[in-house]
Amino acid sequence: MPDLSRRSFLKATAWIAGGITIAFSARLIKEKSVSVGPTLEFPNAESGKGWLQVRSDGKVHMLCPRMEMGQNANTGLAQIVAEELNIRVQDITLHYPTTSETAPIGFTAGSLSMMLFSKPVAIAAASMRENLRCRAAKINKISVDEVIDTEGGFVILGSPRIGYQDLVTDESIELDFENSVIPTLYTFDPRRIKKQVGQEAEPRGIKDLVTGAPVFSGDIQLPGMLYGRVIKPPVRKARLKNLNFSTVQNIIGFFDIVRDGDFVGVVCRTPGSLDKAVRSVIIEWELPEPINQEKINQLLDINVALQRGDLPSTLQDENHNPSANWDVDLEFAVQLQTHAMQEPRAAVAHIEKINDIERINIWTGTQDPWAIKRHCADDIGFREDQVEVHPMRMGGGFGGREHYEVEQDAARLALATGLPIKVQWTREDEFRVARNRSPSSHRMRLACDHKGVLSNWWHAYASGYVFYSRSRLPDWLLPFKRSTAGGDFGVSRGAHPAYKSPSIRVEYKEVDLPIDLGVWRSLNGAPNTFVIESTMDELARQKSIDPVRFKLMNIPDSMARLGNCLKRVETMANRNPLPAKSGYGRGFACGVYEKNSFVAVSVDLHIDHEARKICIDRMCCAQDVGMAINPDQLRAQIESNLVWSIGMALMEKVEIGDGQIASNNFHNYMIPRMSDMPSLDIDIIDNPIIHPSGAGEVALIAGSPAIANAIRDATGLRLTRLPIKYTDITALGSL
């Protein structure tokens, strides 16, 4: 085992060359890393040591613990450091460590960054501040209480200002504060008038993005680098049946073909010759199981599952009465969706020999660099300390970049050729290889009394696996995980009712679908909320109750923050009256994501029969994720989620052909464009006394049902199959 202790890390880098370095708090989760799973070492005693430093020039440096993909989490964390140290966020120097420069840090996913890192970061920075205060007191031979904060330092009555640079020497000091008292955290002090937290902060690195600086993995250039590609099967675990590469050598620029079992890689001198060379290879695959849309529909048929009593997982079961007098009984079909991040994945790998020891360097945009390091070592037979991963910015993640994949292509080809290799997946590769968000089929029934108080709730559904899909885990681990993990919480996400009802049953079936599935923005949060919010809306309309009143009536006190969002968004929507014309409609939906993030969305739309289009005119959103550390970036995440909800409701669907995923580029997988944009009205409900929760996948859950509810309002049609097309409206003969 390589020595992964923090001391060896800190010594190995020049990081603690001088000044005071401080560890992050030890008072947080301590979890073991799972060797096949993601890196779960969230801030704790051993990870993240030395992330914060004040150097002898008084300047503050921070190692960024989060991988960037557009969520700007590190900017938010830097705001916290700035708040605690009374400096400006732009004066902090950020460093992005490689996997050799710090101990493992938990993977970046699930909108956990602010939730898990804000407090440890605040404690570290506040401890640094208090240590500096003690030094100031000691030097001036006064008590600590007499050392008063000021910008970038302290003041003592009757003396000149003391800057941090006056308190730090070139000597290198490492502070440990595992057992010390937690100092006052300015970030979480509701009485403090904050200067950094809660303010707009320019996202770090934004200038690089508008000037085209090298920030993505595909931007890496190494001398003598060649271009490689591994030919991908339609699904993982397919076997190579036939391979013919007899003409590849005629391609100008061809360099080598690497064959190892089912692994077929081509290496060329230019990207264009690589395209040609790959096209010249004839390859046939044998799939573990045939795939086509019909087969998937059959496997997911919720009515068959209900008839057979084949719904093995129960999420909630209280006083269930299957023969209740159901007021609404709807069936839903949610489509297969993909991440389609703008940057198709890319990696550069280079093996070098230093003092007779081989080392591999990998540049890649990944949500989990330490997993890449572990898996790469295992894959190519290196020790972990022979692998260094250089995390690059991701051109979008959305849950699609957690695994060792494009890195594997690059590492193996670099090993086989002995040369630096760049692997840039094509868009077609990206579509073929993506672990998509599962389709699902639902049946949802509701009943209420004459006043509109819910009496019975029954939601049954079938979905492919999310975390325990066959493409995410090795065969030997799958049955164990599926049988012992207590349900795939990706499948059940969002299925807990946010409403109260005396009788509730929520049950589901996890299906082993023959396509590659995995983690997508909000997991099943968006599909489940779509179903729930559509059915609730339908029940209200059938009872002739205003849908917002109806929901507010059924939201329990414990969900007051949800009710607030809904009321707020109703007020926002009402600022603009809906045109009193036929074909115009307004819909509302709300939802809770992961217990602590609350959101409500309203949608105004109209059906444009001339353009044969459903046009979203306006969307309002009110969201409460507790303390708003960077309101502008919260707003940006909401914008992004609302756009995604339009895609989910009206456009996106991965088509499955015979034996393959048929969607392979942006002409047959449509995503929202500028002309699809409604006007947006966004309100952040700041709750400064509540610990921040995730915001990266919240508004998406309420956006798509709000669209479906607005279509119902405009046309009288309850559309339950996503994506909803204009032709669905005309087919059902509205207006």
Partner: protein, 177 residues
């Protein structure tokens, strides 16, 4: 397999070179690179990696650059079709070392980028609009920008940034006048 030496001595590598004017500088494309797309030449041969690859089929616009003043999709533009032309990339947009181009500045002021991957293409397309239409309407922006995809969904801010840049350009031409 063909040896490296054989390939280097292949006559196809010794064709006469072709020229391009990239961001105002004359550049030469040689050998096997003449068979490449403009995107591939810009990124991998000239090292101008600001132009990004998104789909390779002309469908997303991430690779947009200007050829003789017109926005084109470099991923589907064979470089040998545009010999002798002037190419402008995101790296060449900024005229003044001290000051960003108004579009770049507006992009920062509106905090447009999320992941940032699409924005070289967005900005180059937007310049294709603003360089000819100084005061675009929202409708014109929608139409002109509609084919440049942004998976992160930053469209609202892109629109605002274009309008802001239009005002900045107006102001600077007023002061120059």
């Amino acid at each position: 397999m063909v040896s490296l030496l054989e390939r280097i001595s292949n006559p196809i590598f010794n064709k006469p070179n072709m020229n391009l004017f990239v961001n105002g500088t004359e550049r030469v494309v040689t050998g096997v690179w003449e068979e490449e797309t403009l995107l591939s030449v810009l990124r991998e041969y000239f090292g101008l990696i600001g132009t990004r690859f998104g789909c390779g089929k002309g469908l997303c616009g991430s690779c947009t650059v200007h050829v003789d003043g017109e926005p084109v999709r470099s991923c589907i533009t064979p470089v040998n079709n545009i010999a002798g032309t002037s190419v402008l990339t995101i790296e060449g947009l900024q005229q003044d070392n001290e000051k960003l181009h108004p579009l770049q500045q507006a992009w920062i002021d509106e905090r447009v980028p999320q992941c940032g991957y699409c924005h070289s293409g967005q900005i180059m397309q937007a310049w294709g609009l603003l360089s000819k239409t100084r005061n675009p309407t929202e409708e014109q922006i929608n139409t002109f920008m509609d084919s440049i995809l942004c998976r992160c969904g930053t469209y609202d801010r892109i629109k605002k940034a274009i309008l802001r840049a239009a005002v900045m350009l107006q102001q600077s031409s007023d002061t120059n006048a």
